[in-house]
Amino acid sequence: MSPLKPHSLTERNLIENCLQGDRSSQRALFDMYAGKMMTVCRRYGRHQAEAEDMLQEGFIKVFLNLEKYGSSGSFEGWIRRIMINTALKSVSKKSFQNESLGIESYQLNESKEEPTVMSKLGVDELMALVAELPDGYRLVFNLHAVEGYSHREIGEALSIEESTSRSQLVKARRLLQKRITELNELRYEAS
């Protein structure tokens, strides 16, 4: 468990002012974290419009429930969890389950390719690769690989079995690897 980081005076003051309804402090807090949370929402959303809706709804929940922030952990971590929960709710579980059933028809190539060098890919390209994933793959990959949740926690959050979470992660990684390989090949040919 990482040690608790002391709050900066600026952030603590902002939070206190927000609790008293100070609109300018709310705006300042939003500006501090909106960029990072936009990235979170873009990773979970299927498209830009959905990501913006998640961001809007997530920040509304942050400010309406600010009194529940107990100051015992990272404020960024608290906001991030709210954003993720908001994102998971907006992604229809039914469509997720349909996707997860349809995954089998993908017929992924059980490739034995060597790991691809990914260092040439920019953030936007990586985001685009994640967005291309089917809903189920994308959610599991984001929650495990990027956020660091365990498969048990992912299973509880998405109402799926732990084993399903593991298998979908493997498939997500393989699909990403395949797409990265294709991108690099295209670049090599272009050069």
């Binding site: 909106a34 529940k68 969890r81 990586l126 509880e156 109402s159």
Partner: protein
């Protein structure tokens, strides 16, 4: 391969976890209105509470400070002609009734009183008492006396006849030694030899009590009008072969009453929405004894009808019980080795984990503050000290708070108040509920009644947010026990 896959994870995490993306310029403008709406929602509740409190305080003050002024000059004596009854006819025998000098004097006194609408009740009482007390001794002397004929009339000498003036009263007693006397005003008309009609006049004496708000004349409150036609005045019973029926006090009640009560309830929760989640919640939540308390002001509109309002607090209690299948119990095992004589040789400690079930229980509480707005009808059956009320209307919720635990859709026990993972699913207010009851009241004394009122109440709208996974509503059955104070 596994390490390669983890490298993929690490690469994506390093690149994306702390990356800041461009945010649309108008994003804050989309968020701010929702925050304004929340602060606006708080104010109406505050003003509602304040208004309700002010109204109740004003009502209490008005009742306490309202002056009761009895206007002694408002005594009204009304006369109503009614047919003579068969029974009474026997007591009025024209042979026995005679206009004696003394009786005429008494008749004149009563006539004078009778014609004066503004005479005080006490004056009438005194005159009638005097007249009645004298009539017993006078009757024997007047039995055989014949009435003096009135000029202008003809009569048959064999048939005693007389004509009384319209307002000439005759006084007679019914039984010697009986303390009841009847004031009879007779009017008989004779045409030829036959008696055409006998009429007797009933005297109705009523006293009007005026009530004024804050003692200010002109701000008159509804008054109680008491009609005293049966045994009202100094033991003298007014005319009537049958005792006049007691006026219903229900019909005559006006003004304000205040009820204070405790409520003993049992509330059942209904769920609708996701069926599997609904089943999960029903298995883990059960109703417990619930209770409430309140104050109600009643205002009578007349004929037993009226309206009620006030303030009601209720608490619904619920038990949450959940068996955690993933729980583990840690057990510490001490192994003690002893020799033949019982001496301890060695002690070792071993800690083992045993997979088992752990029951998580919690007391859930739902607090409501409501304003009841009810229409009622009260009625009595006969002269018993019991009367009954039928009440129906709505309860408007001002405040709704919850505490405790329930299962999330994922099957995890979470706090009702909400946390990072699963926000609060309930609304700030519970909306409107429908209420119906049937009350039994017992009159303890002139100011206090006891109340026993079984009731049923059901919520119209779901108490959960529109985006929650389930709709929930309470239906409660209960019994109010309380007292009524009549000002």
């Amino acid at each position: 391969m596994n390490s390669d896959m983890k490298q993929v994870d690490k690469y994506f995490k390093d690149k994306l976890h702390q990356h800041e993306s461009a945010v649309p310029a108008d994003m804050w403008d989309r968020i701010a209105p929702a925050l304004e709406e929340k602060s606006d929602k708080v104010r109406p509740i505050f003003w509602l509470l304040s208004s309700a409190g002010l109204i109740m305080v004003a009502g209490l003050l008005a009742l306490l400070l309202s002056g009761e002024q009895v206007d002694n000059e408002a005594g009204i004596i009304e006369a109503e002609a009614m047919p003579i009854s068969q029974g009474l006819t026997q007591h009025i025998d024209t042979d026995q009734i005679a206009a004696t000098e003394e009786t005429a004097t008494q008749s004149e006194n009563v006539e004078a009183v009778f014609n004066n609408d503004l005479a005080s009740i006490d004056e009438v009482r005194n005159i009638l008492s005097e007249t009645a007390s004298n009539s017993i001794q006078k009757e024997a002397a007047t039995t055989n006396a014949k009435p003096a004929p009135t000029p202008g009339t003809t009569h048959n000498a064999s048939v005693p006849s007389f004509v009384n003036h319209n307002a000439s009263p005759q006084l007679t007693n019914t039984e010697q030694g009986n303390r009841e006397f009847k004031l009879v005003i007779t009017e008989s008309h004779f045409a030829g030899k036959e008696k055409i009609s006998n009429e007797n006049t009933k005297i109705t004496i009523s006293k009007e009590t005026k009530r004024y708000l804050l003692g200010i004349k002109g701000l008159e409150l509804p008054t109680a009008k008491v009609e005293n036609t049966d045994n009202p005045i100094g033991g003298i019973k007014l005319f009537g072969s049958k005792a006049p029926q007691c006026p219903s006090f229900i019909d005559e009640r006006v003004g304000f009453f205040i009820d204070g009560y405790l409520s003993h309830d049992y509330a059942m929760k209904s769920y609708s929405g996701n069926q599997s989640y609904s089943n999960l919640r029903q298995q883990t939540e059960s109703s417990l004894y619930s209770y409430g308390a309140g104050v109600r002001f009643s205002y009578f509109l007349g004929k037993g009808w009226g309206v009620r309002s006030g303030l009601n607090y209720s608490q619904v209690n619920e038990r949450f019980a959940y068996d955690d299948p993933n729980s583990k119990t840690t057990k510490t095992i001490l192994e003690v080795e002893v020799n033949e004589v019982g001496d301890t040789i060695s002690v070792s400690q071993k800690i083992v984990e045993v997979e088992g079930r752990h029951t998580i229980t919690h007391s859930n509480k739902y607090h409501f503050i409501d304003i009841p707005i009810l229409l009622f009808y009260e009625f009595s059956l006969g002269d018993s000290p019991f009367y009954f009320s039928a009440n129906a209307g709505t309860y408007v919720n001002l405040m709704f708070e919850q505490s405790g635990r329930y299962l999330s859709p994922e099957g995890n026990p979470v706090e009702i108040a909400g946390d990072d993972e699963y926000p609060n699913q309930y609304n700030n207010t519970a909306g409107v509920s429908l209420y119906a009851s049937f009350g039994v009241h017992y009159i303890l004394n002139k100011n206090i009644d006891l109340i026993l009122e079984p009731h049923v109440m059901t919520q119209v709208n779901s108490i959960t947010r529109s985006d929650s996974d389930l709709e929930e509503r309470f239906t409660s059955f209960g019994l109010n026990t309380g007292i009524r104070y009549k000002f």
